[in-house]
């Protein structure tokens, strides 16, 4: 099974890197959205410091949604997905690998650029660590849950918006724990509770989402 994982991961990463434009746009979207909040709310430093965790997290949610459409669409279009479904490889492993590749390309860049965005919001340096950690734990969960939505809405008209409607309510706990953790740390308390819950969500999603994604793919692709 690790052979399958490695193979799919390698393939998906290769494909993603060949279309560097896609990767770049998701990241750029993240940066632009975080720029919009101060423009809309006002640049008062105290206010920005207060909304920073929430704004950055919401931007991460929206970027994640944007990039999910790509997860299965290309393979579905050229018939690769059908081959995968017919093949001998366990579908759960395949989708896990694809989702991991997707996160490495769409989620991890957000985690890495977050400290720069935090600087824009004048978030104190001591909070950068918690922010990065919360995003590091949370963005894979977003990819996993989002992949379920992507599989369900495969090939449907109104795809992107429908995907958002399906997935955003499910994102709420991740948002609450992620942003909440940073806000706790900002208030001087420990973010440990929030981060541990995020970790629990990650473990839960990693364990159960592949089943749901696989089931959804079979339903959509046949």
């Amino acid at each position: 099974m690790t052979e399958v994982l490695r193979c799919i991961l390698h393939r998906d990463l290769l494909l993603a890197l060949r279309n560097r434009g896609d990767v770049g746009t998701a990241l750029l979207f993240f940066v632009i959205v975080t720029t919009l909040f101060p423009l809309g709310i006002g640049a008062e430093p105290a206010l920005l410091r207060a909304i920073a965790p929430g704004a950055i997290w919401v931007a991460a949610l929206l970027s994640s949604l944007l990039s999910l459409g790509r997860l299965f669409a290309a393979d579905h279009a050229d018939g690769t997905l059908e081959q995968i479904l017919l093949g001998a490889a366990p579908l759960g492993a395949v989708v896990a690998a694809k989702t991991l590749a997707h996160w490495l390309v769409s989620g991890l860049p957000l985690v890495l650029i977050a400290p720069l965005i935090a600087l824009q919001y004048d978030l104190p340096a001591r909070l950068h660590g918690v922010l990065v950690l919360s995003l590091l734990l949370g963005t894979p969960v977003l990819s996993l849950i989002g992949a379920i939505g992507a599989a369900l809405t495969l090939g449907l008209r109104g795809g992107g918006v429908l995907l958002s409607l399906l997935v955003l309510p499910l994102y709420v706990p991740v948002l609450i724990m992620g942003a909440g953790g940073v806000e706790m740390a900002a208030a001087g308390a420990s973010a440990q509770g929030h981060l541990l819950l995020l970790a629990a969500m990650l473990v839960g999603a990693a364990a159960f989402a592949p089943w749901a994604i696989a089931a959804a793919l079979r339903i959509s692709a046949e």
Partner: protein, 235 residues
């Protein structure tokens, strides 16, 4: 031991279920009206005025039963969906689809009445109370389910895709509720919560229960009529 065994799948066929659904719907509809009359009588005539909230608390006789139904229907919907996936019966998927609009409606009613109850008692039309916020997210979950099914032309795929979504949703509801509650206790001042209902006089409680049963019977009636429509439409 009986000589004949029960065929539990007798009514799993839409054709045989159709007349049964009609009969049950009629009985449930009548029961709903009777229970509603009883409940409203208890709620308005028997139950006394509340010491703290005056007459405004009487909204509780709709708000709480509607909220209960909104959650109950989602769970039932998920159960039918799971049955449909597991047993591959068409009728199960139809039942899930038939339940969704009524569930969404009760969620809306819970939110609306909650909002109108909040204004006189807490001063604002919307409070980010854990329950109201979770209820709002539940409404989005219902809409997502209905939107997904509406977007898929093939009824089999629509049923099964909806089923996966409903199951994922029902698993997430406790998680969503818990995280919203956590968020709420950290952000809110202590007083703003619709949880602190008036101390229940027996009449208030029975009024609520009667209305809850009335809504339940109503849901059964409406859902069964709707599933009959779906059976006819899919032919």
């Amino acid at each position: 031991m009986t000589a004949t065994s029960t065929n539990w799948f007798w009514y799993a066929s839409p054709q045989t279920f159709y007349p049964l659904a009609g009969k049950i719907a009629r009985v449930a509809g009548i029961a709903a009206v009777l229970l509603a009359v009883a409940g409203l009588y208890v709620g308005f005539v028997v139950a006394p005025t509340d010491a703290q909230q005056g007459e405004a608390y009487r909204i509780i006789f709709i708000h709480v039963p509607a909220a209960w139904m909104s959650m109950f229907i989602y769970v039932v919907m998920a159960i039918w969906a799971a049955l449909g996936l597991a047993l591959n019966t068409r009728l199960s998927g139809m039942m899930a689809s038939a339940l969704a609009p009524t569930g969404a409606l009760f969620t809306f009613i819970a939110l609306w009445t909650g909002s109108l109850w909040g204004k006189p008692t807490w001063g604002t039309y919307w409070v980010w109370d854990a329950r109201l916020t979770s209820e709002l997210i539940l409404l989005f979950l219902y809409f997502g389910f209905m939107a997904l099914q509406a977007a898929i032309d093939d009824p089999r795929r629509a049923d099964r895709a909806g089923a996966v979504l409903a199951i994922v949703g029902v698993v997430n509801i406790p998680i969503i509720y818990f995280s919203v509650q956590w968020w709420n206790t950290l952000h809110q001042g202590a007083s703003v919560s619709l949880k602190s209902a008036p101390t229940m006089a027996a009449s208030m409680f029975s009024g609520m229960i009667l209305m809850a049963f009335a809504f339940w019977m109503y849901s059964i009636a409406v859902t069964l009529v709707r599933v009959r429509c779906i059976i006819r439409e899919r032919g």
